[in-house]
Symmetry: C2
Subunit: 160 residues, 2 copies
């Protein structure tokens, strides 16, 4: 529920914490965090904002880790399935998960100025949408909740 991404923080620590968590998590779940996958996660964590698959691919290619689209999409699929990254549907872009815990239903605040993304949580089955779903007999499997707008920094930017 408490967002991250718009606030100043010790980014080096933030990154190494998250990477360590990712490794622990993969070890526990028997998943293979290979070099390409790990590097992809690092890039996403480093940016703290939404990156397109082809932006990532350019980075990976510059580092000699592969140059064809499937390289990026495979790595992203792995990370998303492992719960280490999320797709931002409204941007067709990807972001590292900043939620340390296990499975969760993420919600996002997305700045249209700088593409910074803060991750919060939803309670999928509660609220009006849950009511509507129950009323209709609809079985919810996944929710996409994305709020677009301006982050505090970009609200003051002249180029708003």
């Amino acid at each position: 529920m408490s967002p991250r991404g718009f606030s100043c923080h010790d980014h080096a620590t933030c990154m190494s914490d998250m990477l360590e968590r990712a490794e622990t998590r993969c070890r526990d779940k028997g998943l293979n965090l290979t070099p390409v996958r790990r590097r992809t996660l690092e890039i996403l964590l480093d940016e703290h904002r939404a990156l397109g698959a082809y932006d990532l691919l350019a980075q990976l290619a510059a580092e000699g880790l592969g140059s064809q689209p499937p390289v990026a999409y495979r790595a992203l699929d792995f990370l998303v399935n492992a719960g280490l990254a999320h797709k931002i549907e409204a941007l067709n872009a990807y972001v590292a998960c900043t939620h340390s815990g296990a499975d969760h239903a993420p919600a996002f605040l997305i700045c249209r100025g700088c593409r910074a993304v803060a991750e919060a949580s939803t309670a999928p089955a509660s609220g009006r949408l849950g009511d509507a779903a129950r009323a209709a007999g609809f079985q919810i499997e996944r929710t996409v909740v994305e709020a677009q707008g301006l982050c505090p920094d970009c609200q003051q930017d002249p180029a708003a």
Copy 2:
């Protein structure tokens, strides 16, 4: 708040009601519901489910209303801007608005089996996401709320 789209109804009446509303609305707002735009809306209303821009384009082309991508995207842009249709971000697809009234913040229940879509409403600024936004100083301009799952029909379908 009450969804439509998963329930049996008199579809002919449903369509003509919605079309009439659309015409009234365009007249009132000084918008020009041209033949292509009107036909695009009819197709979306008729389906009651999410259609890709190229699906629509194929329909329009079959009727001699244009065969190039901009035809479909222009019509869809018009309808979305006029509040007569919505984009489903998670599917890169479009659906007719079933909410008769004025501007509103839509939320959707989307069946992954049949792509049927029911439209409900959100209360953008309330709830946990609104709290998180206020806490972060984030100014929400638009929200995307899409729940994916199975509609009652598709839950019983063998091909689930």
